[in-house]
């Protein structure tokens, strides 16, 4: 992992009295937190408490009802140009093309994010070497999730927004993701991770946001 060029200790991701309403119900309000480089935030809460919604707000995909999320001082939706490639978002859906092979999917995102990370090592980590030339539609649920995580990992972003990354993963997969998070944090990265498997990720986390 290379270190990100960042100015020391200043907060980089900040939520200022965020509030989101959905269908006449307030999911959360007055949510404030700051995330500094090297910190991982865990978002927990019951089903339907608004974890996914929060992550989408932080990614700039959803506009909050009130308050704002800022990235290095800029309101997230207004982040434009190369700064956008500093954020990566992995939702419940995997963003893979079912008709392309594992390698083609990864290649596409690698070129799309302008990344130069070597792929072989990544595929080995994900234990996908055997499926390299298999189309996504023939993969098992967990294998798909692994490919999606690979696409996420290949983007050289400083802020990771991960929505239940451990879904469908086996034990080794969960350990891999926990390891990645620790590594990312150590290199000065930030992450906001929504999960129901708190026990697997709490070691790498420094903030917990309970919705």
């Amino acid at each position: 992992m290379d270190c990100f060029s960042l100015t020391g200790n200043q907060p980089v991701l900040r939520a200022e009295s965020l509030e989101v309403w959905r269908g006449g119900i307030c999911l959360f309000s007055g949510l404030n937190f700051e995330l500094h480089p090297g910190q991982v935030a865990l978002v927990t809460g019951a089903n339907g408490s608004g974890k996914t919604t929060l992550l989408r707000v932080l990614a700039g995909l959803t506009i909050p009802t009130a308050g704002a999320a800022t990235w290095a001082g800029t309101v997230i939706q207004r982040v434009e140009g190369p700064d956008r490639s500093k954020v990566t978002y992995q939702g419940h859906l995997d963003g893979l093309k079912k008709d392309l092979t594992v390698e083609e999917n990864l290649d596409f995102y690698r070129a799309f994010w302008n990344s130069h990370e070597p792929m072989d090592c990544l595929l080995e980590q994900l234990r996908l070497d055997g499926c390299r030339d298999r189309q996504i539609r023939y993969l098992s649920a967990g294998q798909r999730r692994r490919v999606a995580l690979g696409c996420m990992r290949i983007k050289p972003a400083q802020l990771w927004l991960l929505d239940e990354p451990l879904t469908n993963l086996d034990r080794k997969g969960s350990l891999l993701v926990a390891g990645w998070l620790a590594q990312h944090a150590a290199a000065g990265g930030l992450a906001v991770v929504a999960t129901h498997q708190r026990e697997h990720l709490i070691q790498s986390a420094s903030i917990e946001i309970e919705l």
Binding site: A59, T62, S85, L93, F112
Partner: protein
């Protein structure tokens, strides 16, 4: 620019991966255009009269048909979010997707049109005009269909609704296109309607992708 090329490449590869998808709109075009005469009376003079109308209608339909999945597949597998979050301008990405669609649906249609025109007994002198008119019209049709597809991207049954939203918009294209063909058949110069078709195409390509990308962003929110 990089993103533009990449998306174009990926969409073309997806289309070629299932080559049947390229063959099918074409087959559709041929079948419609050949079933039609079966259903109407078979005299040559008649066929020539309705020939250009049928050509245009089936060109329209086949270019609309293939478009249902243009954005929907991306939206449903989560790639659309990744594309929205890319540093490249989203309008450019949408334009690349439209271009890829046109390359696999519009271009082969242009190549086939002359043969059908001949089989409908259209006069040979009218062919160049017909092809130019189709070449100008199909990109516009693709853009229009893309706007429809964008508006309905998260709605179920969008495939059918696209027709509803977009067909009225295609009216002008069809009118100028058939007018040009008719004038060419009668041996007149069809420059007037061709200019209008070109103007429509320029307008559609410059404004369409922006409109479509805005619609997608709102729909995905």
């Amino acid at each position: 620019m990089n993103a533009f090329v990449l998306i174009l490449q990926r969409d073309l590869r997806l289309a070629f991966r299932r080559w049947s998808e390229i063959a099918t709109p074409l087959m559709f075009f041929i079948i419609v255009a050949s079933l039609f005469p079966l259903a109407s009376s078979p005299e040559a003079s008649q066929l020539r009269e309705s020939g250009s109308a049928v050509l245009w209608m089936s060109a329209l339909l086949s270019s609309l048909l293939a478009l249902d999945g243009l954005f929907r597949t991306d939206a449903e597998d989560g790639s659309m979010e990744q594309l929205i979050l890319s540093p490249a301008p989203f309008g450019l990405i949408v334009l690349a997707k439209i271009l890829a669609h046109w390359a696999v649906s519009g271009v082969p249609l242009l190549l086939l049109a002359p043969f059908l025109a001949i089989s409908f007994y259209l006069p040979l002198e009218a062919l160049p005009t017909l092809i130019i008119a189709l070449a100008l019209a199909t990109p516009t049709l693709s853009v229009l269909a893309a706007i429809g597809a964008a508006l309905t991207v998260t709605l179920r049954g969008g495939g059918a609704i696209i027709g509803l939203l977009v067909l009225p918009l295609t009216g002008p294209v069809l009118i100028f296109g058939t007018r040009a063909t008719e004038m060419a058949i009668n041996g007149e110069s069809a420059l007037g309607p061709l200019y209008l078709l070109a103007a429509l195409a320029v307008f559609a390509i410059s404004v369409g992708p922006m409109a479509a990308s805005a619609a997608i962003k709102v729909a995905m929110e």
